[in-house]
């Protein structure tokens, strides 16, 4: 009996250690945001948040540019989400339900794009953006982010449509429905959870994106939060509490939404890769 109890205790300790490691850095971000200066630079740092300092979050949004950054990120992310899911649904449908010339090539291309680093593509894209006057525009970022997240969105949605029995569509077709109607009326409602997952993936792909934003945006008023926060690193002018407060406000929605749709995201991402 003793050995059994020891095993259980060890397991509880191990779980707590793992959770501590997983959560601590974000907890520490929160604690740092809510620290007074004296706590921050004391010999013994304060390990718990000082909730009396909560005004830092309000100040971070009211003063400085953080609110504008987050708004820009929101615009880019919503645009990317709408565009990439809007294009990904028909692409996924074509890949799932039709056989056509070039299908194998297209699938390989979609998988191949997964290994191209943004840092490699940024130079030719810069030239392209200059020619089409997309530099310094949020639209440009929406376009490029959509192109980069589209393959994974389409592969996940293809997998989801694969899972729907074809008979449902055939019944609709027998009633004279056109392919587009079949897609929007039959398939889309049935794959709603996968669409939600890809929407979250696309949204936060754009929300988190840094390389294109830092290279293509010069106007500080158009900077998204990823660039604004990255500029804090190594910079000394802004109080660290403000920095951490902005970063926390930037992180929280990403974590919350991923937890919500995590199951679909994980199965979708691995399915997209398995088919390679």
């Amino acid at each position: 009996m003793r050995r059994f109890r020891f095993g259980v205790t060890a397991r509880i300790v191990a779980v707590l250690v793992v959770l501590g490691v997983a959560v601590f850095p974000l907890y520490w971000m929160f604690v740092t945001a809510l620290s007074s200066n004296s706590d921050l630079f004391a010999d013994q740092p304060r390990l718990t948040p000082d909730l009396g300092q909560f005004g830092v979050f309000v100040d971070a949004l009211a003063e400085g540019k953080a609110a504008g950054w987050l708004l820009n990120s929101l615009i880019i992310a919503v645009g990317t989400m709408v565009l990439s899911v809007g294009l990904g649904i028909p692409l996924g449908y074509a890949l799932s339900r039709f056989s056509f010339w070039g299908k194998a090539v297209l699938t390989v291309v979609l998988l191949f794009t997964q290994m191209l680093p943004e840092a490699l593509m940024v130079v030719p894209l810069f030239a392209l953006f200059r020619r089409f006057e997309l530099l310094d525009s949020l639209t440009g970022l929406v376009l490029v982010n959509s192109a980069f997240v589209l393959p994974i969105v389409a592969l996940i949605l293809k997998g989801a449509i694969d899972g729907i029995p074809k008979e449902l569509e055939e019944a609709a077709r027998a009633d004279g429905a056109r392919p587009f109607t079949t897609l929007t009326r039959i398939n889309v409602p049935l794959i709603a959870p996968s669409i939600a997952a890809t929407a979250v993936i696309a949204f936060f792909h754009a929300w988190n994106e840094y390389v294109f934003a830092v290279t293509f945006i010069f106007n500080p008023d158009l900077q998204p939060a990823s660039v604004g926060i990255a500029n804090f690193i190594g910079e000394l002018g802004t109080p660290i509490q403000t920095v951490m407060a902005v970063a926390f406000l930037f992180t929280l929605p990403a974590v919350a939404f991923y937890l919500l749709v995590q199951k679909y995201v994980v199965s979708g991402m691995t399915a997209g890769a398995v088919k390679g």
């Binding site: 520490w28 699938t107 390679g276």
Partner: protein
């Protein structure tokens, strides 16, 4: 890469009919109508730039005057492969990638096995463990840099308290500790993904087989190898491939923590490529470095396919 053709594809194509009564499957152009917008998008923003980048790698092109590029053949490749600093970049890339793959999968498997046991609050634990993966890379770089701050960082305070402090404390400025610190941060962000994926693979391990093996007197390790490992092996292979590709292309975390420094100690291929393009302003060499990375990725992908096929045939275990 092999493409798994889906059985969902229609087997018969019906002849075209008058427009008033659309055929059940539409015309043979229907799939192209569905995929054209997306394909055009990928063509413009991925395929064309990639081709341009391949071209650039054979030219000498300066960032300040990019329209004037001079064809130099293989010169860029000859130069980078002759450069000892590039050898060190390649070595660091290999160390970075292999460590990410091995430790992220190892840690992920350990956590998955831990969270696969029944206990109260397991659902909450499974959710909380995914937090690092969901956090934006920018925020992770920022908090890691702050935690590793030489003077006020919690990591140094902790290391000092247990007597393992780094002299001077500037971990990210130390050519010895910067790479381990960047690796630890990367793996912190990766292990939730591997553990969640492995956790779902563990659901298909037949429990009665596990019990049978235990009843037969097999030890834990033997049971794991004979039962669990056989089931999760394909998933581990897939994860290894994903981790390799992701680690080869990871940019912002390393760039924001160290910019590849100190003195190149954390300079992977992608960091090298970016600083060649935007610090040295040599677009041609940058493109050549990028191509090296792309070729390595391709070799890994094709190699993993071949291995997977050999495993399926039973040649390799």
């Amino acid at each position: 890469m092999t493409v798994v053709e889906q059985t969902g594809a229609p087997k018969t194509t019906s002849p075209g009919r008058p427009r008033r009564r659309p055929s059940p499957l539409g015309s043979k152009w229907t799939p192209y109508l569905f995929l054209a917008p997306a394909a055009l998008f990928i063509l413009v923003f991925q395929a064309v730039p990639l081709v341009q980048e391949v071209y650039l790698s054979f030219t000498r092109t300066r960032l300040l005057n990019p329209t004037r590029s001079e064809w130099v053949g293989l010169d860029n490749f000859k130069r980078i492969f002759g450069d000892p600093e590039f050898h060190s970049t390649l070595l660091i890339t290999v160390v970075y990638v292999i460590t990410c793959v091995v430790v992220a999968i190892g840690a992920g498997l350990a956590v998955a096995l831990l969270l696969n046991k029944k206990f109260r609050g397991r659902g909450v634990a499974r959710a909380l463990v995914t937090v690092p993966w969901a956090a934006p890379g920018i925020a992770v770089a920022l908090i890691a840099t702050w935690m590793l701050n030489a003077q006020y960082g919690i990591v140094n305070r902790f290391l000092d308290a247990v007597g393992l402090g780094v002299p001077g404390g500037a971990i990210l400025d130390s050519s010895r500790y910067a790479l381990p610190a960047v690796l630890a941060t990367t793996i912190w962000q990766l292990f939730p993904f591997t553990s969640v994926v492995l956790l779902s693979a563990l659901q298909s391990v037949p429990q009665d087989l596990n019990e049978a093996a235990t009843v037969d007197g097999a030890g834990r390790w033997a049971t794991f190898r004979a039962v669990t490992w056989q089931v999760i092996k394909p998933t581990v292979g897939l994860l290894a491939l994903l981790m390799t590709i992701w680690s080869l292309r990871r940019f912002e975390l390393i760039w924001l923590m160290t910019k590849g420094g100190p003195v190149g100690a954390t300079e992977t291929l992608v960091i090298d490529l970016y600083s060649q393009a935007f610090d040295s302003k040599e677009l041609g060499s940058a493109a050549a470095i990028g191509m090296v990375g792309v070729v390595i990725s391709l070799i890994v992908i094709i190699g993993s396919r071949l291995v997977a096929r050999a495993v399926e045939k039973g040649d390799v275990r």
